[in-house]
Amino acid sequence: MAVTLSLSVNGKPVHATVDPRTLLVELLRNHLGLTGTHVGCDTAQCGACTVLVDDRAVKACNVLAAQMEGAKVVTIEGIAAADGTLHPMQAAFKECHGLQCGFCTTGMVMSAIDLVNRHPKASEAKIREELEGNLCRCTGYHNIVKAVQHGAAAMGK
């Protein structure tokens, strides 16, 4: 039997009736067309599917959409300003060349926002440790860490 859900996605109310098996990432990509959230591994390892749930980074491939009743979900599509100005963390990834193919990037950016919200002054070592749940197959970690440092500084302003 289908379940009926009410949640908010990128600030807009969403009412959905889904098969209980539906994963959050499937709700976002297939039902809502928000394809910025990527599926890299589908086994909770790579972090490409990371979104914010009530301001916390969560792997959207490893939670059911039905667990999101009443939650506030934010995806990569929801972080830029209304006029299209990039979020400081997005701008920092662009500036520091924090991506190659871009597949891991949306998850990296969402994790980085959660990281900076909790540790505004994180050291380089702390950033590396906190990004443990996000893998970059292009192995661009050096510039990713630099981007997070830049982004953290910009978010603090």
Binding site: R21, K59, N62, S111, G133
Partner: protein
């Protein structure tokens, strides 16, 4: 994933009734259960979601005990001042579970109900001699963990909280598998009001107490004493990650690191 029905429980009584009626499984954070269902390693016909039950959340100090609600997320244990003040070893243990995203969803109750042989929480629960509080009764840690993925929980019984006695000293050290970050061996050591306790996870089919380490540390609480103990490897796991002999060696190394980290 196989098809299932989902129920959003509003209260513990509601959840127990739904579980008993359907023979289903309780859904906590889902970080192990959803993954197992996707791989078709688990196929419950019904899931009862516990996330909407407010009384299962939160951390509070009750006299000489620290009580952690079953649906408290690992990340909330990490950042809790009450935990850091009473039993900092628990905050450190929670911070070593999985990765940040997993800690944001996964719960203490879910972890111990699942009783994965390599999970971290069972080591703390057994190592401190905690009490598992359920919808029906209170279960001592020594009676709770029954075997691989097996606990004393009955059909329809739900963990509501875990009550940890505040120890004199405690610490946890683990040797994580470099890929999965699960404990190849993790050891929790504690000096409690009820004596010295040492619990080992990751090494065998379920968490267990190492009597030899407890005896040695009761006489001499030192890293050297912990390291000198020889752990028998008879019942330990051998797999592609390590032999039983290697794990037996790691038990004493992790025990000594844990003792060295207490203060």
């Amino acid at each position: 994933m196989y098809a299932f029905e989902l129920h959003h429980a509003k209260s513990v009584a509601d959840a127990s009734a739904a579980l008993s009626r359907t023979g289903g499984k309780a859904l906590a954070g889902g970080q192990s259960l959803v993954a197992a269902m996707k791989l078709r390693l688990a196929q419950p016909g019904h899931l009862v979601d516990l996330s909407g039950i407010p009384e299962l959340k939160g951390i509070r100090r009750e006299g000489d005990h620290l009580v952690i609600g079953a649906m408290t997320r690992h990340a909330d244990v990490v950042s809790s001042e009450a935990v850091k003040g009473a039993i900092p070893a628990l905050a450190a243990l929670a911070e070593g579970i999985g990765d940040r995203q997993v800690r944001n969803m996964g719960t203490i109750g879910g972890s111990i109900a699942n009783n994965d042989p390599a999970a971290d929480w069972p080591a703390a629960v057994l190592g401190l001699g905690a009490t598992v509080v359920t919808s029906k009764r209170k279960i001592a840690a020594d009676e709770f963990f029954k075997g691989m993925f097996e606990t004393a929980l009955a059909e329809g019984e739900i963990i509501t909280a875990v009550s940890f006695p505040v120890p004199k000293k405690a610490a946890y050290a683990k040797f994580p598998n470099p890929a999965s970050r699960f404990a190849l061996v993790g050891v929790f050591v504690a000096q409690t009001g009820a004596g010295t306790r040492v619990a080992v996870t990751g090494a065998a089919s379920s968490v267990f107490r190492s009597k030899a380490h407890e005896d040695a540390l009761a006489k001499d609480w030192s890293a050297a004493a912990a390291k000198a103990v020889r752990t028998p490897d008879a019942n330990l796991n051998s797999d592609l990650h390590g032999t039983a002999a290697y794990r037996a060696h790691l038990v004493s190394v992790m025990a000594s690191r844990a003792v060295g980290a207490t203060h």
